[in-house]
Amino acid sequence: MVTSRDDFVIAIRSAFLKKGNKQRFSLIGLIFFSIGLLTLNKINLPITNYLKITLNEVVYRSSFIISVPEKKIQNFSNKIKDHYNLYNDYLIVKEKINLLQSEKYENEFLKEENKRLKKTIDEYIYNSKEMVAKVLIDNNSPFLKSIIVNKGSKDNVKLGMAVLDGSYLVGKIVEVNYSTARALLVSDLNSKIPVGIEPGNIQSILSGTGKQYGKIEYLESEIFIENESIVYTSGSGGLFKSGIPVGIYNKKNTEEQTVTFFSKLSQLTFIKLVSFEEDNN
């Protein structure tokens, strides 16, 4: 009994304390060093932030270069799929263009009318500053949905900026480095966005699920939402302006109320970073 306990202790000691052949560090030393780093992270000291920003700059650029072959394979498979669906897509697009053409004129009139009415009731009109950024790393990890873009604090990127794909909301900036930034996608589990559902202007919170759709939360059970309603940002909290389209509402049953995002989040290449400011004029 004593011998087997001794063997266990010797094996553990040898595994964690002994430096192996050609090894510079012992395992236990590095484990303590990692715990130290984690503690510093938790305390959020300025020095750890500088370390993190430097590390991120190096890693994001390297990761972009190393991901090139995988991206090529991915693009090739997407191209094949696109070619295969070309004719069907053409018919759908043709139909949509006709519909959009008629809606465009109507929208322009409504936009102007809306501006006029907002001025009458003294509501803020937002001015948006936008810049186009390239997606360096499309981090499709099973646990975290985020992208790294090639614009950072040197380009005036700020925390909380909206990330748009065309005119659709796809995420917000959560980390800013000198020449890169990380955007948390709307599909991430940690993403919570105040939304309004139209028609009806129903206010709710849209949470990510880690998939191509989100989940409507904090909604009273007696509220009825029409299937295929459009989900926009509500502007609550003041982070985003109201009315940015996010997705389309699908109700499968009473428990499952999902929102399919307009934008294909796994295929982002260029995005717009937008900040909204009050227009004083």
Partner: protein, 171 residues
Amino acid sequence: MSSKFKSIIRNSFLFYLPLILLFVSVFNEFDFNYLNYQYFSFNFPFILIFYWSLKRIETLGYGYIFVAGMFNDAVLGFPIGISSLTYLIICGFAAYLRNITLRPSLIKDWLYFLFTILVANSINYFLLILFFSIEINYYKIFGNIIFTFLLYYIFAYIFDIYRKIISRIKT
């Protein structure tokens, strides 16, 4: 002279291949997520680290594993140090198994690997959820653990062949 130089380059590349693979996989998140199969993903660095810590730790080295963990955290946006800690825990388990094993067997290693990744993942996600308030999809973690475990057998078999090739080159 030139052929000798070429063979040195080739041999060094072959010798450091696991280390190169480790860094490529942490930079690239090499797990075939883009195939978009629901719940299919696996943690290639776990397989690589466990196997080489068990069979030949000089190939990877604890210092490089620690750095790879830091890079993985930066890529994934996790707090710096969490992956390093997880990777080093795997190294610790593998080193313990190496010390107590007299007759190595792939099946025993395989089952022990399951126990190791369960403990390592538990510590990893416990820290992430409790101290850093990051939400995580448990089904996906479960899928990831299962596929990592299942694929270990295949990768271990491939790595065994690779080790034989390396030892033949050395002799």
